[in-house]
Subunit: 380 residues, 2 copies
């Protein structure tokens, strides 16, 4: 398989290295930064191409030369890249987490009979695989809850947080209203609301709060669904204080004769403190709960995952969990085990037991282990 | 007595109204704002003059027409006003809380044989009166602690704070290193440090933290002295988080092509939330502790004061406690009970038992009551 990986950031690097480790794959990695490319090339057998990933013509040409494309771009470049590649009919697996609605490209992908899978990371990603599997496994899924957080191992006052992905996307998570499903209806809550404490063995107590992470899952026939983000306790209170005081507002304010967006200044100040350095240990913590009827009983499946940076590979936990999931789905698409013309979400991959088990097995082989606990619940 | 009051803000208004209530006083109130002047004139028999208080020539002319001057100006105007008035030889009582060292005007005041008393508010002010009295009363004062806070009665998330005086001066309190005396030596601690909890009957639990409020008291022969500011618990932690992240830095930062002082933007955003409205109920909370040897015993005097806005007069608690103290000292100076050529601090007024009791009695008559508790301590 001859694959093109777009983006040599933390996640793109993990994907390229993971795919290249398989001798039946040839991997071309594209990025604007020669340093980022060189850093990967030192560690894995990848062909590198220095190019501007915002240039659609270049993307189309490169995609045309490969059998499969994997997108690991900053969110603001993700949709345009998918749009460029979709026109070539090449299968595409993406983790760029862009905001735009990819369904407008569904028609194009179908016309080329090509398989496109978006949101193939942890959450969205693994959470979708689990719910997709549950919908096939349960007679009826009644409730889905996903708690997820990327955290620094070292808790440093005052924020006790480092951003394992673009920090703008973090503040965006704290301001974008969160959409849930309650009693079959979509409801909207403010981000950072409904704070609760959650204990994770080996990690300690974390706080969970509402964020808008359900994305494609909102379409599924599950009457109760919510997604929450986890941080060390105290983080949300400070973020809310900043947000409610206007520090996250993009609207310019007049200060000493100049007009300034508080969000821009706040981003600048916080990102100095939130920068996850190459050598910083991070962890990914996740809990997915699915409740429903199965085999005549009411059951609850709880999936827990705690992953840490791998000092040997130097890959951050966020890069591992996101990148390995994406690479695993890319393999399913390459082998034809997952094949569906159009733009799919990972819940469609997870619906197939074989595909689901394959992804979970690949993650486990790389140390990313989901522990599943099944409980019987009282009948409602 | 024909008195000139500079400034018709919250405190100047309280002073003017209090002095004008005495039929033997004629009060002229000066301010730039006709609205502020009219508001006082509706409530008290004061003569009003609309003038720019930053204009030294005007100040000199006005001072020359009066027997005594009281300064209740914003801190940035305070020193220049004192300087202008000192040249006229008129006695001056001030609560402008300016940062400059007034001792450079001591020579001028002495030459005119005029009495100048600065810092005549609550803290500095009442705290200085108490320590001045204690130094005369005890054989040896070993320790002085002053805890003070101006608070809104209604605690509103997230800051639980309103600024009863210029908000810039509040952030300045949170950034200026705090000077204390420990074992006879001046030590410097960061503002907002050494957080502790303090219970006040009728108010509840407050937090106290280091601020730089000792000012003239630093000169006194007391081996242990500290001043702390009180807020509702949680405030200091958030302020420290902002400070440590650079939000209080005056150094410009480049944001979207413009250069902006984070402090200027932060001030603008926070002051919207910190604005104490005319009808907001505020309270002043104070505890002064003096320990030392008296009559052969080791004793501790604890002075507690809790004062609230007076709905009848419409005067905020900060205006009451500050303004009434200033008015009381103005009466002492006017009557000649306190007379000392040069620039004095309130501890010099408090050294005289008669002066001290007179101020305390005037405060009590207006509902501002200090409760004194005397305890015997174990011998060291």
């Amino acid at each position: 398989m001859h694959a093109l990986v777009l983006g040599a950031g933390r996640v793109g690097q993990a994907i390229a290295r993971d795919l290249a480790a398989d001798s039946t794959w040839r991997v071309t990695l594209v990025d604007r930064s020669p340093e980022a490319l060189a850093s990967v090339a030192r560690r894995a057998e990848v062909h590198t191409v220095e190019a501007d990933l915002a240039d659609a013509a270049t993307l189309r040409r490169l995609a045309g030369d490969h059998e499969l494309v994997v997108g690991a771009l900053p969110s603001f470049l993700g949709f345009a890249a998918l749009e460029a590649v979709a026109g070539t009919g090449r299968p595409y697996v993406d983790i760029s987490f862009f905001e735009e609605d990819p369904s407008v490209l569904d028609e194009t992908a179908r016309r080329h009979d090509s398989t496109v899978v978006m949101d193939c990371g942890v959450a969205p990603g693994c959470s979708n695989l689990i719910l997709g599997r549950a919908l096939a496994d349960f007679e009826k899924v009644e409730r889905f809850v996903c708690l997820v957080g990327g955290l620094p191992a070292e808790r440093r006052w005052p924020w006790e947080y480092k951003a394992p992905f673009a920090p703008n996307d973090v503040i965006n998570e704290y301001t974008r209203p969160a959409r849930f499903v309650e009693g079959g209806e979509v409801v909207v809550r403010p981000a950072l609301s409904d704070l609760e404490l959650v204990d994770f063995p080996g990690v300690g107590t974390l706080e969970a709060f509402n964020t808008d992470g359900l994305r494609t899952l909102l379409r599924l026939p599950v009457p109760w669904m919510k997604e929450m983000t986890m941080r060390y306790p105290g983080h949300a209170e400070k973020m809310r204080a900043l947000r409610e005081s206007g520090f996250f507002s993009p609207e310019p304010v007049e200060v000493e004769g100049a007009r300034v967006s508080p969000l821009a200044l706040t981003s600048k100040l916080l990102f100095r403190q939130w920068r996850l350095e190459e050598e910083d240990e991070d962890l990914t913590v996740m809990r997915v709960v699915v409740e429903g009827r199965r085999g005549g009983r009411r059951e609850r499946d709880t999936w827990d995952m705690v992953d840490r940076r791998d000092p040997e590979s130097g890959l951050s936990s966020m890069a591992r969990t996101t990148g390995f999931t994406c690479a695993a789905v890319a393999r399913l698409v390459a082998s034809g085990r997952f094949q569906k013309a159009g733009v799919s979400a990972p819940e469609e991959v997870g619906a197939d037991a074989g595909c689901f088990e394959a992804v979970m097995a690949e993650l486990a082989a790389r140390g990313v282990r989901f522990e599943r606990r099944v409980e019987e619940m009282e009948s409602a």
